[in-house]
């Protein structure tokens, strides 16, 4: 497996590879600094930048399982929703005294555990069956959370915790999360683990025959993907100090993640960032002017990408500039 990654590059490819990688790394650092500086700059909308980062983190989290392993997850929003509830129940209902910045990153480990429990049977299903199992898992979870005792999960009313409201601190939580998931995704492109995942995506039986421990790999990717979605949920709870059933298990959010991942290019680092970022800007524009147009628009983007650019923007560029191949990964 490693031979694929370590194959010597053609001369002209190598010439482009190093400067491009350096440029991307520099761009990433500039972007991180820009995000980190927003709260101290005058006249910025914290909500805008926070939600932009959230959209990118969620798309990258879906990318970990769908982009790298090829298991399309149509219920991914469930982990985000559970993340908000893990924080909401612990802080708003049980009043656990763990410091907030710690809890929003420790709590989602519980979401990862749930993902492992669900993934053990569900990841045995192939293709469409996995997607539908997850779709139904999200729908069932939403209804079950809604029907939990009101003094535990808030019922239809949701869980407000006005006393923790501190958007500025939560904002930095999301910056940290974004940096972490970008680093994890970059690492996937250069590690044995990432190559194993891609082998599973391309041909699971062959990957198993080559010695990839497919079940473990899939579960690990699924757990990581659920952890980051859950952490985005917990940090979001920190940011708005509220969660409610209706919002956080909404399929609309899954549509946004799927659209972002496929528009940019599944299984790459740059793709989901580009896709989710672009769609977020468009959505922000549409929300203010034509609020009802934005869901059909996301649907159109998904349909158009599948029909004309199945490998997304990154795949499209790679096909035209072959020397860039494997550089965005």
């Amino acid at each position: 497996m490693k031979t694929v990654e370590e194959a010597p590059l053609l001369v002209e490819e190598r010439d482009l590879a190093r400067p491009l990688n350096l440029a991307l790394a520099a761009l990433g650092i500039v972007a991180a600094v820009m995000f980190a500086l927003q709260p101290v700059l005058p006249g910025t909308s914290l909500v805008f930048w926070f939600n932009l980062m959230k959209a990118i983190v969620l798309a990258l989290s879906l990318n970990l399982i769908t982009g790298y392993t090829g298991y399309v997850d149509f219920g991914h929003v469930v982990f985000y929703g559970l993340g908000t509830y893990v924080a909401g129940i612990a802080i708003g209902m049980l009043g656990i005294a763990l410091p907030l910045p710690l809890w929003v990153f420790v709590g989602p480990l519980l979401v990862a555990v749930i993902a492992v429990v669900v993934g053990l049977p569900a990841l045995r299903l192939r293709g469409a069956y996995f997607a539908i199992a997850m779709l139904s898992f999200n729908a069932a979870t939403r209804l079950i959370v809604l029907n939990l005792p009101r003094d535990f999960a808030g019922g239809a009313f949701g869980i407000p915790s006005p006393e923790i409201y501190d958007p500025r601190a939560a904002y930095y939580g999301m910056v940290g999360l974004l940096v972490a998931i970008v680093l994890v995704t970059v690492w996937l492109g250069h590690s044995r683990f990432g190559v194993g995942l891609k082998a599973i995506r391309d041909d699971e039986i062959a990957a198993g025959a080559m010695g990839v421990r497919t079940t473990r790999y899939k579960l690990a990717a699924f757990a990581a993907s659920a952890y980051f979605a859950g952490a985005a949920g917990s940090v979001d709870y920190w940011f708005v100090a509220f969660t409610s059933n209706e919002l956080v298990f909404s399929n609309v959010q899954t549509v946004e993640m799927v659209a972002g991942v496929f528009l940019g290019g599944a299984g790459t680092v740059v793709g989901p960032i580009l896709g989710a970022g672009t769609l977020y800007l468009v959505r922000d524009f549409l929300w203010a002017r034509f609020p009802f147009l934005y869901l059909p628009m996301f649907g159109l983007v998904i349909a158009a990408v599948v029909l004309w650019v199945p490998r997304g923007v990154v795949g499209f560029v790679e096909d035209r500039v072959p020397s860039l191949r494997a550089k965005f990964k």
């Binding site: 293709g127 539908i132 069932a140 869901l295 059909p296 649907g299 998904i302 599948v306």
Partner: protein, 287 residues
């Protein structure tokens, strides 16, 4: 009380059966997974509502009108979208994502046009009383229409040339081509039939329950549960599975709580997928 609940479950089961048929048919014939199926059903249901509420049409007339409409929409979907995917290697995955997008479009439009509140049809056939059990006339009619059309499809598959051709293509596109059957044509017709059935199912849904755009998710879950339980594109399996689901849902209102009954389909689906992914009935593509 129990008898009443069983009758309710049985009657709605006929509607669940016909609602799922279109989904199973295209999945069985061309490995295309229409995750927008629930949204399509609800869209057809809203079309019925529009015809009845604004044009004062008889709901049963609008049901008949939706058959050719659904058939043409299905043929069009195949010709303009699905056909381009079938030639690729990963049809199932790509069609899954494509229809996920289409579902978002339909849901968005329905929410925009009719989403503000529940819409229901001003229709109520007289309620019959059989052995002390109330049998609502509208639900009985929906059950008979749904069940009858599902069984009609079985006859179509077994006895007619086109039905046999569809089964042949479901088994193997290449072998069918070798026998002089055009898989492209047959797939287009299957898609047409699938959406014609979805049209009828939509009209029946409009007759028996108040409509809201989010009903699409519930019907997607129910349809997938029925298809997985009843075998891909097996009409009799779909009818039986629909009734099983209808009974399970109405019994759940007795045993658990009313507000959890929509979760029954999802839990059932999740369990069947994990315990017995091959379903309980033979799919269309096996003999």
């Amino acid at each position: 009380m129990e008898a009443q609940i069983l009758v309710n479950g049985l009657l709605i089961g006929g509607v669940y059966g016909i609602a799922a048929l279109g989904l199973g048919l295209v999945w069985g014939v061309m490995s295309v997974v229409n995750v927008a199926h629930g949204d399509m059903l609800i869209f057809f249901a809203y079309m019925t509502w529009v015809m009845v509420a604004t044009q004062a049409l008889n709901p049963f007339v609008s049901l008949v009108l939706l058959i050719p409409v659904g058939f043409l929409v299905g043929m069009g979907l195949y010709r303009f979208l699905v056909r381009h995917l079938i030639r690729r290697s990963e049809v199932e995955l790509m069609s899954l994502v494509l229809f996920f997008g289409l579902g978002a479009i339909l849901f968005g439009i329905a929410a925009y046009l009719w989403g503000s509140d529940f819409r229901s049809l001003p229709i109520a056939l007289p309620t019959l009383r059989v052995l002390g059990v109330a049998v609502p006339g509208t639900r009985l009619a929906a059950f008979l229409i749904g069940g009858g059309l599902v069984l009609g499809l079985r006859w179509f598959f077994q006895k007619t040339y086109w039905g046999k051709a569809i089964r042949a293509v479901a088994q193997s596109r290449n072998a069918a081509r070798g026998l002089g059957i055009d898989p492209d044509q047959v797939s287009a017709v299957s898609f047409g039939i699938a959406l014609a059935y979805a049209g009828v199912a939509g009209a029946l849904i409009a007759m028996i329950s108040p409509l809201s755009p989010s009903l699409g998710v519930a019907y997607a879950g129910r349809s997938f549960a029925v298809v997985v339980l009843g075998g891909l594109g097996n009409p009799v399996g779909a009818l039986v599975a629909g009734i099983v689901l209808g009974l399970a849902e109405s019994l759940s209102t007795l045993w658990i709580t009313f507000s959890l009954s929509p979760a029954v389909a999802f839990v059932l689906l999740f369990l069947v997928l994990i315990l017995r992914p091959q379903g309980l009935f033979k799919p269309l593509r096996s003999r």
